[in-house]
C-alpha cells in the first residue's frame, strides 16, 4: 500500500510533530500520512528517538524539583492511575480491523468513513467539510470532481494537501493516495483532479487562502476556505 507514495513529509514537519509544536490540524495530517506511509512513520520514530536523546543530553535544561517531589509522586501513584493525556488515546478505529478509505486518525474526526462526511458545496462541483480542530490552523476535506480544477489560489501561510482518494495533477506532478503537496506563500497553484476518478483530499492551512479571481475572494469569509 505504501509503495506508490512519492511525495512525503519533510524533516521540519516530522520533527515538529515529534516535538509537539504543530497546530492540531497539521498533527492530524501528519498522523493520517503516517498511517499510510511506513517510510515517514520510521522517520517520525527516529525523531522521537532524537527527542529522547535531547532530553537526556540537554544539561542546561534541567530544573530543580521540589524537595518532597519523589514522595509526592509516590503518593500520586498510590492514589491510583493518573488520567491519561488525551494525546495518548489511540485512534478509535485501530481495533476494528482493516480501515476503509479514511485512515484511523481521520475517521476519529469524521466520526466514520466517506459516507459519514457532511459535505457542503462550494461551487463548480467542489465540496468541502471543515473538521473541528484548534483555531491556529484549519483542516478540511475537499471533494473535487474528476477532471475539475480547484480555484487558482495563493497562500498567506503554509498549506499541506494530502490525497485520500483519486489523484490530482499540479504543475505537471501527479499526486495520488497518500501523497502530500506542500505549498507556501510563494506558490500560486491550480490543482486539477485526475480525469479517471473524483478526488478527495485533506487540506490543512495555517492562514486563510487568498483567491486570485474576484468572486471567490468575496465569497471567502462565508466559505471559510
Amino acid at each position: 500500500m505504501t509503495h506508490s507514495i512519492r511525495h512525503h513529509l519533510g524533516d521540519d514537519v516530522l520533527m515538529a510533530y515529534s516535538a509537539g509544536t504543530l497546530p492540531e490540524a497539521f498533527n492530524l495530517l501528519v498522523a493520517t500520512h503516517l498511517s499510510l506511509c511506513d517510510a515517514c512513520r520510521a522517520q517520525a520514530g527516529a525523531f522521537d528517538a532524537l527527542g529522547g536523546a535531547v532530553l537526556e543530553t540537554g544539561n542546561d535544561d534541567v530544573a530543580a524539583l521540589d524537595e518532597d517531589a519523589l514522595a509526592a509522586t509516590l503518593a500520586l501513584i498510590a492514589g491510583g492511575s493518573v488520567a491519561p493525556a488525551q494525546s495518548d488515546t489511540p485512534a478509535e478505529t485501530r481495533r476494528n480491523g482493516p480501515s476503509g478509505v479514511l485512515p484511523g486518525p481521520l475517521r476519529d474526526y469524521v466520526g466514520g468513513d466517506l459516507d459519514d462526511i457532511h459535505w457542503r458545496p462550494v461551487g463548480m462541483g467542489v465540496k468541502q467539510a471543515i473538521l473541528p480542530t484548534s483555531a491556529e490552523a484549519n483542516a478540511r476535506l475537499l471533494f473535487i470532481p474528476a477532471g475539475a480544477a480547484m480555484p487558482d489560489h495563493g497562500h498567506k501561510g503554509r498549506e499541506m494537501t494530502m490525497v485520500l482518494k483519486g489523484a490530482f495533477i499540479d504543475d505537471g506532478e501527479r499526486f495520488g493516495r497518500g501523497d502530500v503537496e506542500i505549498a507556501d506563500q510563494h506558490l500560486h497553484h491550480t490543482p486539477v483532479a485526475d480525469v479517471s476518478e473524483d478526488c478527495i483530499c485533506l487540506a490543512v492551512t495555517d492562514a486563510p487562502l487568498k483567491f486570485r479571481a474576484l468572486i471567490p475572494k468575496i465569497a471567502q469569509p462565508f466559505l471559510r476556505i
Binding site: E24, A44, D48, G58, A63, T73, V82, A85, S87, R94
Partner: protein, 215 residues
C-alpha cells in the same frame, strides 16, 4: 533514517503477560539485565522491568532523580511556570509507573519513552491541542522482544546520544531549541536574530551529520 523505532508506545504482546515473559530465556528479565551493566541507558531498561515486575520503589527513585528534573526543565522551556511544570513532571513519572508494562525496549530507549509521555502531557496541558497518533500497525504472530533487538536498539540510542554531544555547538543548540522551547523555525529566527535560512540549514546539517553517524 536515524534509528528504526516506531513512533508509538504500545504494549508488546509478550510484555502483557508476566508469566510468558519469565518462561522464555530470550526475553528481558531482571537477571539478564544485570549483564548489561556499564551502560547507563541499558541499565534504565532494567529499572523499568523492576518497576513492572516488583513495584520496586528504589528503581523508581533512581529513574525519578535522573529524569524528573529533565522533564520539568522540558516543560518550563515549553512555557509552563515552575508550579505547573513540577505538577506535570510528577504526573509524567507516575504515568511511567502505571504504564511500565507497555514499555517495549526493542522499540524505544527509556529516555525516548519518557520524552513521548512528557510531550503528550505538554500538548494536553500547555497547548490545549490534540495530537492524533497514526493508526497502529498490526503485528504478526511473532511477538517476543528479542534480546538482540533490545541490545541493538539500546546501543543505537547510546550512539545517537554521543553523536548529539559531538555536534558543533551552534547545531546542537538549534536541535535543542526545536524540541525544548516550543518554537517553530521562524519563531526561533525571530528570537535568535538568525536568518530563517541559516536556522534551517544548520538543523539540516545537524540531521545529516547524525544520519551519517548512525549509518
Amino acid at each position: 533514517m536515524l534509528v528504526g523505532t516506531e513512533p508509538e508506545i504500545q504494549a508488546h504482546p509478550a510484555l502483557r503477560s508476566g508469566q510468558a515473559l519469565r518462561a522464555s530465556p530470550k526475553v528481558l528479565g531482571p537477571e539478564n539485565v544485570n549483564e548489561m551493566q556499564g551502560d547507563k541507558r541499558q541499565e534504565w531498561v532494567g529499572h523499568i522491568v523492576r518497576i513492572r515486575d516488583n513495584q520496586d520503589q528504589v528503581a523508581f527513585g533512581e529513574l525519578f532523580r535522573h529524569f524528573a528534573p529533565r522533564v520539568k526543565g522540558f516543560l518550563m522551556k515549553s512555557g509552563a511556570d515552575a508550579t505547573l511544570a513540577e505538577e506535570c513532571a510528577q504526573e509524567v513519572m507516575a504515568t511511567l509507573w502505571h504504564k511500565a508494562h507497555m514499555f517495549d525496549p526493542a522499540r524505544a530507549s527509556v529516555a525516548t519513552w519518557i520524552f513521548t509521555i512528557a510531550r503528550n502531557r505538554k500538548i494536553d496541558v500547555l497547548r490545549k491541542q490534540r495530537r492524533p497518533e497514526p493508526e497502529e500497525l498490526t503485528w504478526g504472530p511473532e511477538a517476543e522482544p528479542d534480546q538482540e533487538d533490545v541490545l541493538a536498539l539500546q546501543q543505537e540510542s547510546e550512539n545517537l546520544r554521543r553523536a548529539i554531544a559531538d555536534l558543533p555547538d551552534a547545531q546542537r543548540k538549534l536541535i535543542n531549541r526545536a524540541y525544548f522551547g516550543d518554537l517553530s523555525h521562524s519563531e526561533i529566527a525571530a528570537e535568535t536574530g538568525l536568518p530563517l535560512g541559516t536556522i534551517k540549514s544548520r538543523i539540516r546539517l545537524a540531521l545529516d551529520r547524525l544520519r551519517h553517524e548512525m549509518k
